[in-house]
Assembly symmetry: C2
Homo-oligomer: 319 residues x 2
């Protein structure tokens, strides 16, 4: 059974439809399904087959989509994966409430999984910690929009909370379901954090350097949204004084230039201080950290390749 | 220890403050604390002292306040308990995110309670079911604003979901924590449903017939918000044709009369068809249902009085 089939099963017969249609809409959009894959992987490394942990995989994908529904309201984002966001297609009240319901449906999935009570409680606890850290990360992200100086350290802490803990939680949840040794659970969590950093830095890169067609959304949205990304923070660190001042002007919320006018100027400054290369090196460093942690896992060697493949995929993805 | 002390303990050291200040703001407002009292009561009936279930009591109060934060955005409500609502005092993005975090903090409270894994999982499952039913209830409530014909049956189902299941969940959660017999858990749940109906019908009454000072909010807000309450639905059922037409005109969203102009006309029609008395009878019926269920509980007779007192309090409250 696929995670999509499970979603459809879970939606069946629920009402009112005004609440559940937006949930079905977002869950059934084709996506990378990174998070379910990580859960299944965490379990498979320790010999537990996918079908046993599918509800947990679904739970984390639901949690992820809940955050997307609410984040899109906060960011006033019209498009997601090339389609209208929930709050644009319906309205923000429906988006708030459907998001709330989806977060609880995610929890229900874990509760419905057949597992010993102790393991299930551990996964629920991990799920709760992850959920709250994602809220904290999102709040830092919102704060950064108006905060004048953001250090790369602060930025990394924000993306740790907003993105990395979810991937870490997925891998660990799979491992808990498989009753993996405690030390392996922690290693997997840390692998997830490193992969999560790589994933988000790649996201920052793609916002500017992807092919718009394959990305499925407009190039430069982070710039349009005044998001402080790794690219910007790194450029501010590396650029010469006049370029730094120019960047700050270009990113100032009161700057009235259009995105089309800003983009070439920003790209030119980034080119001069090699921001793209430096971000790629940072991604590579995160992946190497993950790869060396993979070496220390106690699971059979032949199982580790799928985890290594995910790492490569995170680096090479084009959307 | 009080539930407020536990709230403050839980808030301590959390950051970013932009996320947690609104949560502290709403949790620390003086309130009736009906839900925590119900949890403590459910446990005490079966011999478990309050301090053992305080985190569960806190969890349900947190869940309740989470729904208030989000409902106030959806209802565009400026005041709650005589103070600015979270989204008015801050903004709706902060209110969405703080609400999300608060819902998860509620779950964390249950997870932190010292209980056998099996009982804890049962309470988490009840908590999840309650959370999702509240979302469904709120969605029906939103639907009813624009739905032309709402039956009293549909209305009762809406308030069952939006209000009653929470009170029922509180009583039952306390009983699960106290390891009460299964049959008593179900009876307590049903007592909570009956009390919840009474609670909401009383809320509908107070919106129009309370003393504004003791209510802490403006009289007639349900009318201003085009909410279909028990009073209206009952009046539409009881009134003569000309009064029914007049009521429908007064409640039509496109009606441009001010609340001050509408109120005396609505009150006059309600008076003519005895809506106030009939609502009071409906409340009394719910309370009698609860009181006769209390008789069937297997706990010691002398413990039942505090439950009976809550029932009376629900009927006699002025805010």
């Amino acid at each position: 059974m696929s995670v999509e089939t499970l979603f459809l099963q879970q939606m069946h017969g629920r009402k009112p439809r005004q609440l559940y249609d937006p949930i079905e809409y977002i869950l059934m959009q084709p996506g990378k399904r990174v998070r379910p894959r990580m859960v299944l992987l965490g379990a498979e490394l320790f010999g537990t087959p996918p079908e046993k942990v599918l509800p947990i995989a679904a739970a984390f994908e639901m949690l992820h989509n809940f955050t997307l529904i609410h984040d899109d309201i906060m960011d006033n984002a019209p498009l997601r994966r090339g389609k209208e966001t929930v709050f644009k297609k319906w309205n923000s009240n429906i988006a708030i409430l459907s998001g709330d319901a989806l977060a609880t449906m995610a929890l229900e999935q874990i509760l419905q999984t057949e597992l010993p009570a102790k393991n299930k409680l551990e996964i629920v606890t991990l799920f709760a910690r992850t959920s709250i850290e994602i809220c904290e990360g999102q709040q830092y992200d919102l704060n950064f929009e108006t905060k004048e100086q953001v250090t790369i350290e602060e930025y990394m802490e924000m993306i740790r909370l907003k993105t990395a803990v979810m991937l870490a939680g997925c891998l660990k949840a799979g491992a808990i379901a498989a009753n993996a040794p405690r030390s392996d659970r922690e290693i997997l969590y840390n692998i997830g954090i490193s992969l999560g950093f790589a994933f988000q830095l790649k996201d920052d890169l793609l916002d500017l350097y992807a092919d718009q067609q394959s990305l499925g959304k407009q190039i430069g949205m982070d710039i349009a949204d005044h998001k402080k990304t790794y690219l910007l923070l790194r450029a501010l660190q590396e650029a010469q004084a006049n370029d730094r001042d120019k960047l700050l002007q270009l990113f100032a919320p009161e700057n009235s230039l259009s995105l089309e006018e800003k983009l070439p100027q920003i790209i030119e400054i980034y080119r001069k201080c090699h921001v793209r290369d430096k971000t790629e090196v940072a991604i590579e460093n995160c992946l190497n950290e993950a790869l060396s942690l993979i070496e220390t896992l106690s699971c059979p060697e032949n199982k580790k390749n799928s985890l290594r493949e995910i790492a490569t995929l995170f680096r090479d993805r084009e959307k």
